[in-house]
């Protein structure tokens, strides 16, 4: 790891440990914007780590931004950090300046199209993360990339099962200017990558919580960690978490190297699967307390259950990989899998 990345991750770790606690996440889920946390991160240059300095960012690489996102997700930071990162990357790629403040992106679902003609937008995007409260919405329209002021669109609020804003945005009649080009699947691909990274971070979070919990909790006169059945299921969980982290790190590195190939599909499919298995094991290890609102585990597991279905769930990405494998043919399977 280079010096810049070490600095970013150390700073992030410290900020989240100090400010991003269970109560803050809880308030955010109830609708209170965590202004202090956002401001601290933004002032430290972390919210736009991947954007070049001349465009308004901190001048890091896309990998810097994504590893920062992984750290943030170990604390389930309730902010549009993934969306701000993606919006920043899209704008920088299009050669546009990146505005300050929290950003979001649209559309985030397959099949939704936002038309642009005569300087006006039309169409509706659903499940847009954190649209209300965003300082700008970066939209991949039929004619290119546009920056839209949320004040000019209609926003119907809704939430994900993790209490994260997922709004319906009606663009009809909103004026916009095209700032550059964007390929049709770019949001979808970066979204799948970001959710994989977020899940990998949250998975490391629930593993750490579970390991700690079974060492504290006593039954039958000893800590749960002394029971072999408990040890075995946490070891199985560690396997899922390690696989998830490896798959998402590999996708980060491949993206940073400019050749993600199938790595993002592999990450989303593999991490999504790990999320379901590991969340189940974490809850089992916690017993009833983990099923309460009072205990923080649900802040992680509800996000895992939500994130795994966004930007294509496992079936979507598995089929995508499967079709590529079938097309390459049986005798090229090894070359495909080893990327050689």
């Amino acid at each position: 790891m280079n010096e810049m990345r070490t600095l970013i991750l150390d700073t992030a770790e410290r900020i989240f440990r100090d400010i991003c606690d269970q109560a803050l996440v809880d308030k955010a889920e109830k609708g209170e914007w965590p202004a202090g946390l956002w401001q601290t991160l933004e002032e430290s240059g972390l919210t736009q780590a991947s954007v070049p300095e001349e465009r308004g960012g901190a001048g890091g690489t896309i990998g810097d931004g994504l590893y920062f996102l992984k750290t943030a997700s170990r604390y389930v930071a309730p902010l549009p950090l993934a969306e701000t990162l993606i919006a920043g990357v899209l704008l920088a790629e299009a050669g546009a300046d990146v505005p300050a403040g929290p950003l979001t992106i649209a559309p985030v679902r397959k099949g939704e199209v936002i038309e642009f003609s005569d300087g006006k937008l039309s169409g509706t995007a659903s499940r847009v993360p954190f649209a209300h409260g965003a300082s700008a919405i970066v939209v991949a329209t039929s004619a290119g990339l546009a920056i839209v002021d949320p004040k000019n669109v209609k926003i119907d609020r809704d939430k994900s099962m993790a209490g994260e804003p997922r709004d319906t945005v009606t663009f009809d009649g909103a004026s916009a200017t095209i700032v550059g080009s964007v390929s049709p699947d770019r949001i979808w691909e970066l979204g799948a990558l970001a959710r994989s990274v977020q899940m990998a971070g949250a998975l490391e979070g629930i593993l750490a919580m579970s390991v700690q919990y079974v060492q504290d909790r006593k039954q039958f006169g000893r800590t749960l960690s002394k029971f072999q059945a408990v040890q075995q299921s946490l070891a199985a969980m560690a396997g899922q978490v390690a696989a998830a982290s490896s798959a998402s790190d590999t996708a980060i590195e491949a993206t940073e190297a400019g050749d993600p190939g199938v790595a993002i599909a592999v990450a989303k499919a593999r991490v999504g699967e790990a999320a379901g298995v590991a969340a189940e094991l974490a809850h089992q290890a916690h017993g009833a307390i983990g099923f309460t609102h009072e205990y923080a585990l649900h802040q992680f597991t509800r996000r895992l259950w939500g994130w795994r279905d966004e930007f294509g769930g496992e079936p979507y990405w598995q089929a995508e990989i499967g079709r590529q494998v079938a097309k390459a043919g049986a005798d090229n399977l090894w070359k495909f899998a080893s990327r050689t």
């Binding site: 070891a235 592999v266 079938a326």
Partner: protein, 383 residues
């Protein structure tokens, strides 16, 4: 607050890709010339002639120093050589153990005389080794081994039985874990030693044990007053436990733990064809995503070995996740592409059948799933 074991992505360099090209060229040529039959669980399949050609082409002991005939390359180079052989389904069983762990053991703990005596022969594909750890009453609890070694003039006398020894019937040597002093209840790991056993010498009888498929893969060896000369003792008398443990990092994370049923996946892809249904595409995609992820983890561990680390827990985790994956391949294949109630004889059905038959062994040999998870739990700080 990270507790997780980490597997930093490791990119293979141009040297490794050059090595890959060399190995692929050899395998293609050898296969085209009718040199070997493809199959799965390649490390259990053997062809003595193939191993000789493989050794002569310079693919055994490639990390070992040049003075013994090795190439002095890294673990990442070795990784590439072994994964290409396994992916091609080549019968690498005969030389596998010697290349993977007996040679490295001799390099680490053996005498100079032993290295000179054995390493060049291993490298040439002419000396095959097997692992003499398990016994009838000692499986997971390896520290309970009973085979006794008693001191005699110029060496040791062995009495007892080793069991489940893969390919002992075609190997020249076994490295046996034996008791050189009685069990100390205070420290069960004391009093064990490792010795090189010449399986062709008198005093040892190698008997076949047929596996569930009726095949002769592993064996039982009965030792009666078998003489081991002092020059065949490996390392220190009494340090056997520590030496055995050091072998395990090499043993557990290699490509063999993720590719045991790879040929089933290959034939499944062939069976399904280039226009798969949604369900077929998902199954193939899922199995491929798992494979690619595991490969990344396994390469990462090879990188740690190349850096001189001893990633014992990381390796145990890759073996746990990897072998479970290998067992899933035939189970998933039969659901999406059902065989003809066992009667079919297509290439796909043959692979599916062998994969189903070897599956139970994958999470037992080389440390059971439960033992590995115990090690992972220790790594997490739970024990």
């Amino acid at each position: 607050m990270t507790t997780a074991l980490t597997y930093p992505p490791r990119t293979l360099g141009p040297e490794q890709e050059a090595m890959r090209a060399e190995v692929r060229a050899f395998l293609q040529k050898d296969y085209a010339a009718g040199g070997f039959g493809r199959g799965q669980e390649a490390m259990a399949r053997y062809d003595v002639e193939f191993s000789r050609r493989w050794g002569q082409a310079g693919f055994i002991g490639i990390t070992w120093p040049k003075q013994y005939g090795g190439r002095g390359l890294t673990f990442l180079d070795r990784y590439v050589v072994t994964e290409e052989a396994l992916a091609a389904g080549a019968p690498v069983g005969a030389h596998w153990v010697a290349d993977r762990q007996s040679g490295p053991l001799l390099l680490k703990y053996g005498t100079e005389e032993q290295r000179q005596r054995f390493l060049p022969k291993i490298i040439a594909g002419e000396a095959f080794f097997c692992i003499g750890m398990s016994e009838p009453d000692s499986g997971s609890d390896l520290a309970s081994v009973r085979m006794s070694a008693t001191r005699v003039d110029g060496g040791w006398k062995l009495n007892g039985t080793k069991l489940w020894t893969s390919l002992a019937h075609i190997c020249h040597y076994m490295i046996a874990l034996v008791r050189t002093s009685p069990v100390n209840p205070e420290n069960r790991h004391e009093g064990m030693s490792q010795m090189i056993v010449d399986l062709k010498a008198p005093g040892v009888e190698v008997r076949p044990v047929y596996n569930l498929a009726g095949e002769h893969h592993f064996n039982q060896e009965v030792f009666t007053d078998y003489f081991v000369p002092d020059e065949n003792v490996v390392g220190e008398i009494g340090a056997g436990w520590e030496q055995v443990m050091s072998e395990l990092a090499y043993e557990r994370s290699g490509p063999e733990r993720i590719l045991s049923t790879f040929q089933t996946l290959v034939e499944l892809v062939r069976q399904v064809g280039d226009d798969p249904s949604e369900v077929e595409a998902r199954a193939i995609g899922r199995l491929t995503a798992h494979l690619m992820t595991l490969r990344g983890m396994s390469v990462s561990v090879a990188g740690m070995l190349a850096d001189g680390k001893m990633p014992v827990t990381e390796a145990a985790l890759v073996k746990d996740v990897g072998t479970n994956y290998c067992k899933e391949v035939p189970e998933m294949a039969r659901l999406i592409c059902p065989p003809e109630d066992g009667a079919g004889n297509s290439k796909y059905e043959k692979m599916l059948k062998t994969a189903t038959l070897i599956a139970p062994s994958l999470t037992i040999q080389g440390g059971t799933r439960e033992i590995l998870r115990g090690m992972i739990a220790r790594g997490l700080g739970l024990r």
